[in-house]
């Protein structure tokens, strides 16, 4: 499985109470990585987060849209359970099997504190090809 770490961009879309996140990339995996960047940029400033600790997530999900939500929710859960803030992500896929990594560090005073992301929802969830690449989006509860 080749890991996706490059050629990504993230953005946001409007939602009354929560936040719509968008990840774009060359492949589905790239778009998912960008989605993770969009989520954790709400938590802190990504460029300030040092890659001192690494976590792994692995899951099986044939539905690509549910896979996006599962990927984000696993990162949110694992980071909170380990008291980490994450800043770098990689993801590889083999059919329905997904294996990802993320790097970050424990909270320290110098890190900007944004908001807790509680989880990714199925609202406005889509994963689709766009302009020769892929785009993944959903609303996250904050």
């Amino acid at each position: 499985m080749a890991a996706a770490t490059l050629r990504t961009e993230h953005a946001y879309f409007e939602h009354d109470a929560d936040v719509g996140i968008v990840g774009r990339g060359e492949r589905v995996e790239d778009a998912f990585v960008a989605g993770a960047q969009a989520v954790f940029a709400l938590v802190s400033r990504l460029e300030d987060v040092r890659p001192l600790e690494r976590i792994e997530v692995a899951f099986e999900e044939p539905d690509v849209e549910l896979a996006f939500v599962t990927w984000l929710n696993r990162l949110v859960a694992e980071s909170q359970a380990r008291d980490l803030v994450l800043g770098r992500f990689a993801l590889a896929r083999a059919g329905a099997r997904w294996r990802g990594e993320a790097w970050g560090e424990r909270w320290r005073e110098a890190l900007e504190r944004g908001v807790d992301v509680k989880g990714a929802t199925l609202t406005m969830l889509s994963v689709k090809p766009v302009d020769g690449g892929w785009e993944a989006r959903c609303v996250v509860d904050v």
Binding site: D18, A77, R113, V115, K118, T121, D141
Partner: protein, 475 residues
């Protein structure tokens, strides 16, 4: 929201009639409040009205806004005897989010000289904001006892006294909790989170009673003008969030197999009587107990801070009420009493006078209802109305409701400037997140007065007291 499809029943009640495959939808609120809502509110509550086993109408409260699956401010009851469902999307991530409201024996004039010190002490002792853990570290066995015992567990650990439980919904412990249905990951997220406030729209606010609207109810609630009170708005934290995440996906997958057609996948649900439905209910009830325990701990810490500056002065629980729940309740629909599972997502239970579920002290006037506002405007204390049962399964508004997205608020306000501006108005804000403060700017919320007035005019709950902020500990 486009009102052309709905008809006006009275100035604060609107109806979208039932049609084949969908029940009736009721919208509570003034024309002005409804017009300001996003069209998504109607789309979402209309989808809710298509779910199986709906009893009566699906409805929105005057503070409704666009949510995920259910709108925030959405209420819908389902009958298990008619294939009714329980929806993880109808409860959401902030399971049993609610407000613990404390009344004190302190007057505003006595607090003002000490306000900065009290504010700083609360900010020091109440862990608030993203990445802030609590001082308690619970192992798996102890956490299971929290999930089974709720506020009773916290009191057994020394966080408060048993006489408070009468003033907490469900006497502090939701029956039917099954900690075994809560995933290990959900429990791992909670180990260091007991006794923490959280972030986003959660807060602890010291307030004062500015105006009494209903003297008899205020007397029963022990409120008077000039009195200092405290609102603690928080939730089940990481555990509740993970229960939401776990069951949202599993119920969305299970729905088709269980014969439920989902108009929106976010409405992930299962029949109440199915194994999947029962499993979620056990986990959700456990998460409710987690929230009740959390608010009990925070109330105790708050009491200790006040006790340091005002020794011997009472700081008592007036009421603790949740606004993200699904509970089995008896309601009269179509001329007969039925056991219904009432989803309130961003809506407060509001039993009217005489209901046996209300503490005896308040029974003659109705259940206390708290509408939390923004950090610049304060909150309202209301009492359940006699007409609320027939109109809305005894439900009322829960907050001012957002009028602007977080993204827009962030583009419009700077957190530091906002905190400084509030300080010039005499409102001290303590936060570790200036970004969070900007997102929660008072201007990003609806007009609290309009929401409270519409709640009263719609016959859901009547205003008892308006309270204004003195200091806000923001997550």
């Amino acid at each position: 929201m486009d009102l052309s499809r709905i008809s006006c029943i009275d100035p604060c009640t609107w109806s979208l009639p039932a049609e084949p495959g969908r029940g009736e939808v009721r919208f509570f609120g003034t024309r002005e409040l409804l017009e300001a809502m996003d069209d998504k509110v109607m789309e979402q509550i209309t989808n809710v009205a298509k779910l199986p086993g709906l009893a009566g109408c699906a409805m929105t409260m005057p503070d409704a806004h666009w949510g995920y699956g259910f709108p925030i401010g959405g209420v819908a009851a389902f009958d298990p005897e008619e294939g009714g469902i329980i929806s993880a999307g109808g409860v959401g991530f902030d399971i049993s989010c609610g407000i613990r409201f404390l009344r004190t024996g302190i007057d505003r004039a006595a607090l003002m000289p000490l306000l900065h010190k009290v504010s700083d002490s609360l900010f020091r002792d109440i862990p608030a904001g993203v990445g802030e853990g609590g001082s308690l570290r619970l192992d798996a066995a102890e956490l299971d006892r929290v999930l089974a015992g709720g506020a009773r567990w916290a009191i057994a650990q020394g966080f408060g006294s048993a006489d408070e439980l009468e003033f907490v919904e469900e006497h502090g412990c939701m029956a039917g909790a099954d900690p075994a249905n809560v995933s290990p990951l959900a429990k791992a997220r909670q180990r260091g989170e007991m006794g923490t406030l959280g972030s986003g729209n959660h807060y602890l606010e010291v307030q004062w009673v500015e105006r009494i609207h209903d003297a008899a109810a205020a007397r029963a609630f022990g409120l008077h003008e000039g009195q200092v009170v405290v609102s603690i708005h928080c939730v089940s934290r990481g555990l509740g969030h993970q229960v939401g995440s776990d069951y949202l996906v599993s119920l969305a997958k299970a729905a088709a197999r269980l014969g439920v057609t989902l108009p929106d996948r976010e409405l992930a649900c299962a029949p109440i009587r199915s194994p999947e439905g029962r499993e979620y209910i056990g986990a959700m009830n456990a998460a409710m107990n987690c929230a009740l325990a959390n608010r009990q701990i925070l109330a105790h810490i708050t009491r200790k801070v006040f006790g340091h500056y005002f020794p011997g002065v009472p700081v008592e629980t007036l009421f603790d009420v949740s606004h993200n729940t699904c509970k089995p309740e008896l309601h009269r629909v179509d001329g007969r009493e039925r056991l219904l599972y009432v989803h309130r997502k961003g809506a407060t239970r509001a039993f009217g006078p005489g209901h046996p579920g209300i503490p005896e002290r308040y029974r003659a006037v109705g259940q206390p209802v708290i509408i939390g506002g923004s950090m610049g405007t304060g909150s309202y204390v209301l009492a359940g109305s006699p007409t609320g049962e027939a109109r809305a399964f005894s439900s009322a508004s829960h907050g001012a409701g957002r009028a602007m997205s977080r993204h827009k608020a962030l583009a419009r306000w700077r957190g530091r400037e906002l905190v400084d501006a509030l300080a010039t108005q005499g409102i001290l804000v303590r936060t570790r997140s200036m970004r969070g403060a900007a997102e929660e700017a008072p201007g990003a919320y609806k007009d609290l007065e309009m929401v409270a007035e519409a709640t009263e005019k719609a016959g859901l709950a009547r205003r008892v007291a308006a309270v204004r902020p003195l200091t806000c500990i923001k997550g």
